[in-house]
Symmetry: C2
DNA sequence: CGTTACCTTTACGTTAACGTAAGGTTATGC
DNA sequence: GCATAACCTTACGTTAACGTAAAGGTAACG
């Protein structure tokens, strides 16, 4: 059987792949964002753990707190298979989505602004250089 | 003369307009992100200060540190009117731009992912509700 | 059998970005 | 003329997200 995707990684292998420290991974576990399996004392990270870590790091880049991310992950788990849970979780997801689209829109504006600044600065620099000649 | 845009605001007026605390404004000043004028001891914030604060808060929403933002603001000042300064500043701006466009692209992916999750969750919820009937 | 590599836990230290409390100044209303 | 509001400075406290050091277990290698 081929099980490449279900292969499990040690903590140092994870650190290499994701460019994080062991301390960070243990910290995320402590905060209940990850829950790797154990072989004796040793942590073993599954494909699911890797997927979760991807989401964790992504969330961080978007300025979410670890607590925010923990809730998001709970949603990706659709952990509440009962109706009330699922409804609450869906609300939270829609909030996040609104937040992210707002962020995307603002980011577009910021990028445009910055591009204008860059163009102007580049022109000014070109002027300074031709004047020298 | 009409000078509505050059009117100056007190710290509490600033706090209202931008939904920040006085402590935050003083903190930003301490870190050299703002430098409002003074009338005696009292801070007076100009239109330029307001523009800078807008950029500060925007930067924060994008996960930049205050130190990052301080450098960005120095760029918006095009403070180095000498060639070397301007060139360095332009490099920094292009770095930021690259970072922001990367962030935008990743955000687009994340939004798409989340939308799929939401759709699936919504369907599941609908099922749960029709089953009840 | 020792040491090297990799893992573990516990626990105190650190940085950023403010919060909060204490104590003092200035303008305004009554 | 004094209290109230709005400002100020100084300084210690707090939270998040780890860093780092200490002390120890285990498996393989020579």
């Amino acid at each position: 059987m081929i099980h490449a995707l279900s292969e499990t990684l040690t903590i140092s292998q994870m650190c290499q792949q994701f460019s994080v420290t062991p301390r960070a991974l243990r910290f995320y576990e402590d905060k209940e964002l990850l829950a790797p399996a154990r072989k004796g004392m040793q942590r073993l990270y599954s494909a699911r753990d890797r997927a979760r870590l991807t989401l964790i790091l992504r969330g961080k880049r978007f300025g979410f707190s670890l607590e925010d991310i923990r809730q998001l992950l709970a949603m990706y788990d659709h952990s509440g298979s009962n109706e009330a849970q699922l409804a609450r979780t869906l609300d939270l997801a829609r909030d996040r989505l609104a937040h992210m689209t707002a962020q995307r829109d603002e980011l577009a504006v910021a990028i445009a602004d910055l591009q204008i600044e860059i163009t102007q600065a580049a022109e000014k620099l070109a002027q300074l250089r031709t004047q020298k000649v």
